[in-house]
C-alpha cells in the first residue's frame, strides 16, 4: 500500500477540519454535506459495503444506462388505442401519474375522466359519467403501466388515437395521445360539447390521415428530431415549438402524397400543426418513455425510470423495483401566473410529462431553452444552474442530446437513487400550472422540485430487495 503523496484532502464535516488544513497550506475543499434520514444512511451503507451487491448495482446500472441512452425512438404509426395499447380492455381509462382513486382526484383529472366517458359514449352526461366513476364501475389505470404516457390529466380511452413509437435498439414500444392544442381541452378537465367534438375530429379526421402518412414515411426519427430541436431553443417539455416545426416539415410530403386526400382536411390538419406549438410534447414524451422502458426491470438497478403526477400525488418508478410506485403528495409549483391568477387558483402538479426530465430533457436541458426560463419566472442563468445541479444526481451525459450553451455537453440523464440519497438533491421539473377548477386550463408555468421522500423510500426497498437477491443466490451467505 502506498501512502497518498501529495495528500489531496476532501472534507466532509465541520469547517474547522478544512481550516486546519488550509492553515498548513493544503487546499481542503469541503463537501456541502447534509444528513439523510438515518435509515437511508443505513441503506446506502448496505449497498456500498457488500462487494457483490455493489458490483451488481454498478453492472445493472451500466446495462440500464446503455439501453436508455442507446434507444432510438422511431414514430411508426398512429392507431386506435384499443388495438395497440397492451392491457387496455373493457371499460378502462388510462390516466397520468401513479394509481388514483376517484374520491381524492383533483378537479382537472375528474373533468377529464368524465369527458372520456362522454367521448366513448359510456355516459350520456357529465353527471352520469361522474356517478359511474364514483361508483367504481370504470377501471382506472396509470398510463405508465401500459407503456403509455399522457400530458396533464393524460386520460386515454380505448377509442382515442395514439402514436406508436418503437425503440429501434431495444424493440420495445411506447404510446401517447394526440395533443388537442391550447384553450378548453380535455387534459385540463374541460368536457363540454366542444371538447368532445374536437376529440372526435382528431380521432376521425386527423388520425387516419396522419397515421397513413406516418406509415408511408417508414417512420419518423424522433430521437434525431429531439437532438436538433435542443439546438434550436427547445427543451421538449414546456417548449416544443422547433420540434413541432421540424415534425411538420418531415411529415408534410407524406401527408400530401396520400390517396383520397381532401385539400380542406389537409389544410385543417396543417393548420392544426401550425397552431399547436405544444404538438410535439406528446411525441417527446413517448420517445422518452420508449427509452426509459428499455432500461426498466433490471433487478438491483437504482435508475429512476419514471416520474409522474396525477394531480393529487407524485410518483416514481425505478428500474430495480418493477411495478412498484413510490409516492408523495404532489407539490405546489413555484412560477409565473398569467394575469388574474395566483397560487390560490393552482392545481397541484399534474401529468406524465416529467418523463421528459427523467429522460434528460425538460428542466434537465433548461440551459438549452433561454426563452423558457423567462417564461417560468427565472433568468437564463437559472436554466444553467438547474441543469448543472442535475448532473450531480445522474449517471450519464446523453450521447445524443446536447446543449450548445454548455459547449455541447450531453444532457444529464439517468437519475440515480444513490446520488439523490447522498446529495439530498431531488430532480427539478419545469411544468405548466393548471387551474384547480376543471376546464379553465393553463394559468401559468414554473419549476417544481420533486419531493425527496419517494426516492428515499425506493432506496430502502431496493436495499431490502437486493439483500434477498444475494442471499437467495448463495444460501450459505
Amino acid at each position: 500500500m502506498r501512502l497518498p503523496d501529495p495528500v489531496r484532502p476532501i472534507v466532509a464535516g465541520p469547517e474547522d477540519f478544512a481550516l486546519a488544513l488550509e492553515a498548513q497550506e493544503v487546499a481542503a475543499p469541503r463537501v456541502e454535506w447534509q444528513p439523510p434520514p438515518e435509515e437511508v444512511s443505513r441503506a446506502m451503507a448496505a449497498l456500498l459495503r457488500d462487494d457483490e451487491r455493489y458490483r451488481t448495482m454498478q453492472e445493472v446500472n451500466a446495462e440500464a444506462m446503455g439501453r436508455i441512452t442507446g434507444a432510438k425512438s422511431l414514430l411508426v404509426d398512429l392507431r386506435v388505442a384499443r388495438d395497440v395499447v397492451p392491457g387496455l380492455e373493457g371499460k378502462m381509462l388510462l390516466h397520468a401519474g401513479p394509481p388514483l382513486a376517484w374520491k381524492t382526484a383533483s378537479g382537472p383529472m375528474r373533468g377529464a375522466l368524465a369527458g372520456a366517458l362522454l367521448f366513448e359514449g359510456w355516459a350520456r352526461s357529465a353527471e352520469e359519467a361522474e356517478s359511474m366513476l364514483a361508483a367504481g364501475s370504470i377501471q382506472l389505470s396509470p398510463c405508465h403501466e401500459h407503456n403509455t404516457v399522457g400530458p396533464m390529466a393524460g386520460v386515454i380511452s380505448p377509442a382515442m388515437p395514439v402514436f406508436v413509437v418503437e425503440n429501434q435498439t431495444g424493440g420495445n414500444r411506447a404510446y401517447s395521445n394526440l395533443n388537442e392544442g391550447l384553450g378548453k381541452v380535455l387534459r385540463y378537465g374541460a368536457n363540454d360539447a366542444g371538447v368532445i367534438a374536437r376529440l372526435r375530429w382528431l380521432a376521425q379526421e386527423v388520425a387516419p390521415l396522419l397515421g397513413a402518412a406516418i406509415r408511408r414515411s417508414g417512420g419518423i426519427d424522433l430521437t434525431g428530431l429531439i437532438a436538433q430541436a435542443l439546438h434550436m431553443g427547445d427543451e421538449l417539455h414546456n417548449r416544443n415549438k422547433a420540434a413541432t416545426a421540424l415534425f411538420a416539415r418531415a411529415i408534410a410530403p407524406f401527408l400530401v402524397e396520400g390517396e383520397g386526400r381532401n385539400s380542406n382536411t389537409l389544410a385543417a390538419l396543417f393548420r392544426y400543426l401550425a397552431e399547436t406549438d405544444v404538438f410535439f410534447l406528446n411525441l417527446s414524451m413517448a420517445a422518452s418513455k420508449a427509452a426509459l422502458d428499455a432500461g426498466h426491470g433490471l433487478d438491483g438497478s437504482t435508475v429512476v425510470t419514471a416520474i409522474a403526477r396525477n394531480g393529487t400525488e407524485i410518483g416514481i418508478r425505478v428500474s430495480g423495483t418493477g411495478n412498484r410506485w413510490f409516492t408523495a403528495p404532489a407539490p405546489a409549483i413555484e412560477g409565473l401566473y398569467f394575469p388574474g391568477y395566483g397560487p390560490q387558483d393552482a392545481n397541484p402538479d399534474l401529468g406524465d410529462s416529467a418523463i421528459t426530465e427523467t429522460g434528460g430533457l425538460g428542466a434537465f436541458a433548461l440551459a438549452a431553452a433561454p426563452a423558457i426560463t423567462q417564461f417560468i419566472g427565472g433568468t437564463p442563468e437559472l436554466g444553467g444552474k438547474i441543469t448543472e445541479e442535475m448532473y450531480a444526481i445522474t449517471l450519464a451525459e446523453h450521447p445524443v442530446y446536447s446543449i450548445p450553451a454548455l459547449d455541447y455537453r450531453g444532457t444529464p440523464v439517468g437519475i440515480d437513487l444513490m446520488r439523490v440519497a447522498q446529495s439530498r438533491v431531488a430532480p427539478m421539473l419545469d411544468t405548466g400550472i393548471a387551474h384547480r377548477e376543471p376546464g379553465i386550463g393553463q394559468i401559468g408555468a414554473g419549476i417544481v422540485r420533486v419531493p425527496i421522500e419517494p426516492f428515499d423510500a425506493a432506496l430502502l426497498q431496493l436495499a431490502d430487495l437486493s439483500l434477498h437477491l444475494v442471499t437467495d443466490a448463495h444460501p450459505d451467505h
Binding site: L3, I10, A12, L21, V26, A27, R42, M44, R49, A392
Partner: protein, 467 residues
Amino acid sequence: MTLRWTVRPNAYHDSVKLMRVSEDLAALPGVERAAAVMATPLNLELLSDDGLLPPGLDAAPEDLVVAVRGPEEAVRAALEEIDRLLAPRQMSGEAVQAPVRTIEGAAARWDGNLAVIAVPGQFAAAEAYAALRSGLHVFLFSDNVSIEDEVELKALAIAGNKLMMGPDCGTAIINGVGLGFANRVRRGPVGIVGASGTGIQQVTCLLDAAGIGTAQAIGTGGRDLSTAVGGSMTSQGLQILADAPGVEIIAVISKPADEESSADLRRQMEALNRPIVACLLGETYADSGKVRYARTLTNLAEIVVEELGTDEFPWREREIAPDRERDGKKVVGLYAGGTLRSEAGQILDGMKRPHELVDLGADEYTRGRAHPIIDPRLRTGMIEGLQGRNDVGALLVDIILGDLAHPDPAGALLPAIDGLGIPVVAVLVGAEGDLQGLERQRSLLEGAGVSVFMSNSYAARAAGALA
C-alpha cells in the same frame, strides 16, 4: 422587547457551526438572546426553554431556524447579519460554482485522494464506504460507528490498498500533512502507528523537542486492537512503515488491547525484524529481538532517542519529590486527551495517590459540543466547580496545541485557575512550529504559577507529589 425570526428551508449547518453563529448573534449590540438551530423537536424544546420559540412555527428538522430577542432595532439589525455569520470561513475554494454535495462528487471535481470525515456517527459509515468506493483513502474522525462497520470498512480498505484510519481516529500525519489534532513537527526517521490521537501527539512533540522528526503517523482509530477488529489497521500500518523509505525506527502506540490482538501484534512486530518501540499502555512486556517495550509514552520517546543515539532528553525537567509525611489529597485531572488521562492514572496508581481523572473527550461530554481540544469552556466550567471543594490537592490538565486546536488554550485556562488556591500542573503538548506559539503558551502558564511539563508522565508525577 420583540422576538423576530427567520426560517431557512433545507439549509443544513453542523451543530458546531450553529453554536458559533448563536454566540455571535447574541454578542451583537443590544441583543438579549439569540439562537440558530436545526428545527429538530429537541432543539425546538430548547428554544422554548429560552423563550425563543417562534409562535406557530412551521419548520421541519431539515430547516434552519434563527430566532433573536431584544429591542426592535437591535433585533432587526441582528437578523441582517445572518448571511455573513453563516458564510463559510474558508478563504480558498471557487467563488460561485454549483456546490458539491457528495464525497464522490468532490473527489471528482478536485481530484481528491483522501477523505476527512467528521460527520455525526450514525451517518459516518455510509460516507466512509462511499469514499472507499470512490478510490479515496479515509481519515475517519467520527466515532459511534458500529464495530461491524469498522471491521467491514477496514477489510474493504485493505482490499483496495487504501488507508482506513478510524473510526474514532483523532490524529494522523501523512507525508507532512497533519490530519485532525496534529502538531507541526519536523519530518524525520520515526514512523508511528497508533490507536491513540493524543498519544501520537505526545510522542511526536517530545521527539520534535529532542530534534527528532516524524516520517509518518498512521492513526488506526481507538478500537483497532479489539478482538473483533483484530488490529487489522495496526498490522497494515506496520507493514507500510516497514516498507516506507526514510523510516529508520517504528513506534507503536496502543491503548489497552484485547489479549488476542495484543499477542498477534507482538508476534507481528517481532517477525518484522526492524527496530520497533512499542507502548502498549497498561501492559508490560520483556524486550524481544529488535522490539523494545515502553511503559509510558515518555519512556517510548526515551527509547527512540537511545536507539537513534542522539542523547537529548529535553523532557527530563525538574522532578518534584513527593512529601511522604503528608497524607496526599486527591489529584483532580481534567484531560482533553483520553490516552493522556489513562497514562496519568497509571502513574498515580503507581504512586498510590488518590485521583479523580476525567476524559473530557469521552462521548458523554462531547454530545452537542465541540471537542475539548477545540473548545475549552467545558473544562474551565468544571475548574470553577472545584472552588468549593476541600478534598482536592492538585489540578492536572493537558494543554494541547496544533492546527485544529483552540487558538489560545493557555490564555483560556488562566481566568479559571485564578484564585483556585491549589497547585496546578499542566502537560503542554505542542511543537515549536505550532501556530499558538509553544514558548508563549508556556510563559503564559508559568506566569500564572502553573507547573509546566512537556511530558505527561512527569506532569502526573508532579501532581501526585504536590497534592
